[in-house]
């Protein structure tokens, strides 16, 4: 019920009765410190070493989400488009945006109590930065020199893998972030039933000396690799506070009246042609397949409207101009082009083999849908199973595929950097150097159009991220690049009757005021 002062006195009284009397309206409530936040992610493992992350991979996105608990970046971007000081307190650049100076915040400590120094910042960033950017330590900060104008450097440094850390010789990394990793255990047989694997588990405790302030919760527990349906059950019964939800289960979670958060579409699902199968190198076949793909139906039916059709390589929320690329579907045109090709190309005994480069039912279904669309244009596509081995190679014995269905996560807040990374992924060499040289939006558009017209990659759909959030979770917010701000989350659990008692939900509620 919404009340305004223009209401009559009687109505106002009713409003007051409804809003005030039953709840015993309190003066401003404030967040509480304490408790343990329980997070469940579907990935089976995470790496906290940014040097190991593969750009654009979905696992790297999950890594970033967890790493943001323990590491900080030089700067941050808020949801209003403003860069905020983080480990860098001030920054400046020359007229050409080639020389950037960052002054470090003073007094910042790593989790072992030692001070952050410019040399450590330079050492952390150098292996992460593109070769065209050279970093050096100065007396009070760092300097980054670019081979060409880099006006989007802040966009890059505020996102992606550009975390600041200190690497110890034994391989462990220390951070300055709001939490400290205190436990990490791999999947192990459950004690009660050794045939069942207990999922991997990580525990983080609040960093009392975090430069931006101690987090509200005392601990964050992260459970990895639980099946999605079990995660949902855990959320329903109060055993989990935050879970990630696969897009195909979002409707179910909403029907269960659970709180669901959704992001802009951070992940692109797309097809990539691989010339290892000769038919895939035929530009007319690529064009015909592009016209045959029914992206609208993939998003609305297969994904139950939890995805968006993709007609560009960069999403609208990132580039701002994706709408300029029209919808290419034209089945008649697809058939016409196909009919001009020899029947043996992607047909008959030699279908175009489609390998799905990610696991999960959704990807498998999408691959089958691509095959159905292609068949309507008389293009024969055969999905082939792909089982990655522990060494990262394919275990399949089938011949080389001509098509890959893959997922791409937009890591950077710089559309230019994202497009360049995608181009590098496509060409698997140094990529398109011209993409590194300008952030002019019209040039970026032209480059993206050129990549689309090459049709080495055919975008299919864009996937948002979904999270289920328990009612006790307050002040939930997310960075523009999709990281969860768990340091600002607090738990609205009831105060325990005594410090030794557990609350009604059975959770750890050692709530109190931060000294």
């Amino acid at each position: 019920m919404r009340c305004t002062k223009s209401l009559s006195l009687a109505a106002v009284s009713a409003c007051l009765a409804a809003l005030v009397a039953p709840t015993g309206l309190l003066a401003t409530k404030h967040p509480k410190f304490g408790g343990t936040l329980r997070v469940e992610l579907h990935v089976a493992s995470v790496s906290l070493d940014p040097r190991e992350w593969k750009p654009g991979s979905v696992t790297a996105a999950e890594n970033m989400k967890v790493a943001s608990l323990v590491f900080d970046r030089l700067i941050a971007l808020d949801e209003f488009g403003r860069f905020q000081a983080a480990l860098a307190s001030e920054w400046s650049h020359d007229a050409a945006s080639k020389i950037w100076q960052f002054r470090l915040r003073s007094g910042v400590r790593f989790s072992d109590g030692s001070f952050l120094t410019p040399k450590e910042v330079a050492a952390a960033l150098q292996p992460l930065l593109p070769p065209a950017l050279q970093i050096s330590a100065t007396e009070e900060g760092i300097q980054i020199r670019a081979a060409h104008s880099t006006p989007d450097l802040l966009d890059q440094l505020a996102s992606g893998r550009y975390f600041i850390f200190r690497a110890h010789p034994d391989g462990t990394l220390l951070g300055t972030g709001p939490f400290i990793l205190v436990e990490s255990s791999p999947p192990a047989p459950a004690e009660a039933n050794p045939s069942v694997l207990r999922p991997a588990h990580m525990k983080f405790r609040a960093n009392e000396d975090a430069w931006a302030g101690r987090p509200f919760v005392d601990f964050v527990e992260v459970i990895l690799g639980d099946p999605p349906l079990r995660q949902i059950l855990n959320l329903e019964v109060g055993r989990a506070d935050i879970i990630d939800i696969p897009p195909d289960l979002v409707r179910k979670v909403r029907q269960d009246n659970l709180r669901v958060w959704s992001s802009p579409p951070y992940t692109l699902l797309a097809l990539r042609f691989d010339e290892a199968q000769p038919a895939a190198s035929d530009p007319r076949l690529r064009e015909a397949l592009d016209y045959a793909l029914d992206r609208e139906t993939m998003a609305s039916v297969l994904l139950q409207r939890q995805a968006l059709p993709a007609t560009a390589l960069l999403p609208q929320w990132l580039s701002g101009y994706a709408f300029l690329f029209g919808t290419p579907m034209n089945l008649d045109r697809a058939k016409e082009i196909r009919s001009a090709l020899p029947a043996s190309v992607a047909g008959g005994a030699e279908p175009l083999r489609l390998r799905v480069d990610a696991t999960g039912d959704l990807m498998k279904l999408l691959g089958e849908r691509v095959a159905v669309n292609a068949r309507q244009a008389n293009i024969s596509i055969q999905p082939v199973a792909h089982v990655p081995t522990s060494a990262g190679t394919s275990a399949t014995n089938s011949p080389s595929p001509g098509l890959h269905l893959f997922a791409w996560h937009y890591d950077s807040l710089s559309p230019r950097a994202d497009l360049q990374a995608l181009a590098q992924h496509l060409h698997s060499d140094a990529g398109d150097e011209s993409l590194a040289e300008s952030s002019d939006p019209e040039k970026l558009y032209a480059d993206e159009r050129r990549l689309l017209e090459e049709r080495q990659i055919l975008p299919l759909i864009l996937l948002p991220e979904y999270a289920g959030i328990a009612p006790v979770v307050r002040n939930w917010s997310v960075t523009p690049s999709g990281e969860w701000r768990l340091a600002d989350v607090w738990l609205a659990t009831a105060e325990p009757a005594t410090s030794n008692n557990e609350s009604a939900t059975g959770r750890d509620t050692a709530l109190g005021v931060h000294p």
Partner: protein, 347 residues
Amino acid sequence: MISSLQNAVRPIFDRPSLRYFPFLTLLFLVFSVLRAHPASSETLSLDDVVRQLVERVAAIPNLHSPLHLEFIQDSVVLSDTGKDWQEAFRKEMERHHLILTDDQAAPLLRVGLAVTPTQLVLSAVARVAERNAVRIITLPRSSFQAASLPIVPIRIERQLVYQGPDRILDASSLWNGAEGGMALLAIHNAELSVLRLDASGGVKQFIALNAADAHPSRDPRAELTVRAADSVVLLPSKSCEFSWASPAEARCRAVKPTWRGSTVLTPPCDTGGWKLLADGSDWSTPGVLQVVPDGSQREGSAALLSDFPGPILSINGEQNPASALVVTRNLRTGNYEVYKITLACGS
């Protein structure tokens, strides 16, 4: 040139800390030699960008009107900008003698306005000689917001008296309330600070409370009590007294804080007090200020409600029985705002 946006786009403080910052002086000299970065689009308004885009559209070779115009606008941008820019675009087209028509068979000109994490993107595409001619102009989001924020205080029952990007913990009227002005307890560059502002919002004094040695906290609780000679800042674990005349001599001691109780205002026509209440339990949702009669015998009789653009973070009515200062964080702009709440008589 310092380009951290909280300083460059909308300077709020005198930034006294920078006076002690020789590093910046060095940078300034370096970049003066390298030629200062031009202000570029940071000072552009949306109207300026619309004008530029139309100029560039009008210059597309072989573009012939009449054109059928179609606008595409993100819902996020729509709530921020409305559709005024579309009218401005039409007028600029007319000024360039480009005729618009409702005829759907005419060549299509599609114009989009979108928001990205860092920019507003205004784009146009026209079909010319079987090819798409595309023109795109961008504007930093932060500069657009700064230019578009209402700077004239609004006054219905409340008056916007201050806004800025730095986190404000509490606001208090000054002891000499008749002259106006207020003091703000804020976090500036991660330091606890007190600002004294005159009635026009100008910063008269900036005090960095170094003596408080306040460890940064995510707990928004902090209170500022202003008196004529000295003032008190109350934090979750300590209390600090300082004088306006010699702020460097601030003295702090550990205390278990007793936070101020409900704020009660007394309007001129009612001897009874009215209590100001808000539920600031979730910073991600806008707050509603409720003004209810004080005293148990009067509760439930009536209430005034006022929607705020963000969560209500503090309410302070200590200095003036007829008004209070309310701190909120505007969820649309991200700025912290201070409103003066006055209980006036009559509708």
